[in-house]
Amino acid sequence: MQLKINGTVYEADVEDDMPLLWVLRDVIGLKGTKYGCGVAACGACTVMVNGEAVRSCQTLAGDLAGAEITTIEGLGSPEALHAIQAAWVEHQVAQCGYCQSGQMMQAASLLAVTPDPTDAEIDEAMEGNLCRCGTYPRIRAAIHAAAASIQQEG
């Protein structure tokens, strides 16, 4: 099957019921999307499909024909940080960092719809993303900072 990921079309010979997470990691080789639970309970595997955050561990490859898939690698890179990534750097959010790809993709999806979220809107959007290191206060601050920076850029 063909999958369009970060603007590039990839050919993947996989089962229809193979989760996108494992297609990304083990078949395409995009390792920035993380495996945490496999049951949509932690959000570490969050990517965007057609601009909306989804848990890639529960999104099946066979359902993605024609979809635009965006992973953390498609959001930005160390050389060209997305505003959200720049805010994550500026606020030094990460401790172990393992959940942060999913956190940033969830935040990107939030800001696409809600450019200037309140704390309550952040709470609601981010509730599904678990961080065991306890970086929540900095994630919240970084989302506010990213929102301000995106709005400033206009």
């Binding site: 945490g36 496999g38 309970a41 172990c96 960092g97 678990l130 306890g134």
Partner: protein
Amino acid sequence: MGKFGRIARRSFLIGSAAIAGGVAFGYYRYKSPVDNPLLDGLTPGVAALTPYVLIDEAGVTLITPRMDMGQGVYSLQAMLIAEELDIGLDQVRVDPGSPSPAYYNTALSHEAVPFDPRDTSMVAETMRGVADAAMKFMGMQITGGSTTTPDGYEKLRIAGAVARETLKAAAAKRTGVAVADLKTEGGAVVLPDGTRLDYTTLAGEAAEVEPVTEVTLRDQSEWRLIGKEVRRIDIVAKSTGTQVYSIDLEPEGVVHAAVRLNPRRSGAPSSYDAGAAEAMRGVEKILPVTGGLAVLADNTWRAFQAADGIEVEWPAAAYPAEMEGHWDLLSAGFTAENVDATPREAGDVDAALAGEGVVKAEYRAPYLAHAPMEPVSATVLVGEGRADVWTATQIPRFTQANVAKVLGLADEAVHVHVQMAGGSFGHRLEDDAVRIAAEIANQMKGRPVKLTLKREEDMATDYPRQIAMARAEGAVADGKVVAFDLGIAMPSVIASQLGRQGISVPGPDTQITAGAGDQPFAIPDYRVTGFRVAGLAPVSSWRSVGASTNAFFHDCFLDELIHAAGADPLAERIRLMDDPEGVKVLETVGEMCGWGAELPAGTGRGIGFCRSFGVPVAEVVEVRQTEAEVRIETVWIAAGVGRVIDPVNFANLAAGGAIFGLSHAMSAEVTYSDGMAEQTNFDAYEGMRMPQAPAIEVKAVEGLGRVRGIGEPPVPPAAAALANAIFAATGRRIRELPLSKSVDFA
């Protein structure tokens, strides 16, 4: 050959050695006791060099041997070295002391013996032999116990200073300029005329000069990095999905493995049927391993699917099948023969508690899972007479020896490449999965095997935090706490954990009473007794170990007595405290939160205090009782760490540690049913989420104690502070964790 001059400082000696194309600076560790007065006679035969700074034409590499699991110690270790070396953190490469997996098939450097591999001189060979012995001697070298900072604070700066001064000596020799006229800055020696000689260009000559080991560490007024807000070296990688963790490794030709391991820890399956699994797409092989079965497949998901497809039955567990049996063992465990130690015994407790008005309470704390976000993985390649292991481990030396044993190789034939960990909380102090990966790889010689634990496997086979029970009695008089008697019953974490490494530890396990029997309070009649209870599930160190349960018991019961006495929770703790640093920490947290201010109805504040790993930490939690739920609003944290090395990391670990403590106190437990853990994923093992995260303020109390680590100490006071806050807000004294058994959290 290796060079070292006179002793730099106390127990360690920094020296240098030539490496291919450059120079290594590191410390020589004595085999003899550190206070041996014969150190002046030290010869190459009794020491091995552990490098901290490697300089060659390619650049400057700082070796940061303590593994990073999110606590930021790669950055912290690099800061300490770079401070004295006069180099920017953006100019160095940081290496945990092992080569990149990209080079897994090339000849690897003898990182513990920084001699050119071609150097077969008597000294080099002797040093290699000694290094092997030293490796065994240093087998206890682990990352844990919040030790990285106190261990490295002087040692790493001295390593940086020796390297700097030796590079200056090399520059002086080359240019004829006196050392006193040379400066160092930004990775270069600077001549009086402004000419810059990069360290990399001086490396070869630096290896030839006698190392300068008489160094003076800089005064803190000159520090560029220590105590300053610097950008963590891994922060860009961790903000872009480009940080490589153990689970991300995929060497060419890798075979993916998944396992079904005995969730009752009772050995091999009693029966199994792998027929359906064998027929699944991508499955190459299914084979027995210690305590279970392994599947080899062409990707992780197919391996997981096939492992799930195996029908398997396991023998009964050696511990009670149901929780009732675990609590019964603890309840019956407060016996004279179970007494492990009585680390605190002041006054005459029995007499003090013989009268009327004695306050009594029983407390409970459950098993907890480590459950770092990154499940355990290990990649092993077994070749001819050599094996390579890539994994995130806190115990690389144990793992090396354990894999060597599995493979029938000498320890030094096993090369462990420590990877960045996506969290640990003590999880990676165990290495069962690495041993199993080695068993599998031994049957797949020449092909790298990557074992990834499915989340459910990771949690089902986790050795949890200890379960524990406490019984307490106390008395008050004239508005004061006057008598305090606490008994704590739990399994021995240390015996369980080190037992799996083949080590038996004689004497008491200090963790049974840690966080309770070692608290800096001067109560007139004061006793803390630890009871070691056998027959429970095997357990392991969980962030803050014994103190994680015991601070809840000790500080909540102290809070009960303070309320019984009618005293103020903050003032009475300060009155009882006999440690100036502890007093300052309590006073500081009181100032931060404005203790004593009138609070709205339904709002309450609780204090939690615990000194663990040498660090006194006081936390105030403010909760609000809504219609049906309790909401954690704000947390104030004060910690006495002597000196803050990395303020960003300090704040992150203090806040994160408190959240970790609160998160588990609120709603987490591991329970056994039918001999198996019932919580094997994050849907059942709950933790704090964004909507529940409180506002947090953190402050360090500096200058009153030694330099200490902050990874664990913020955890123990959190559960106590929360339970004490709920009492203050609602009048309900909850004595069992998780608190969600008794209240609902918003």
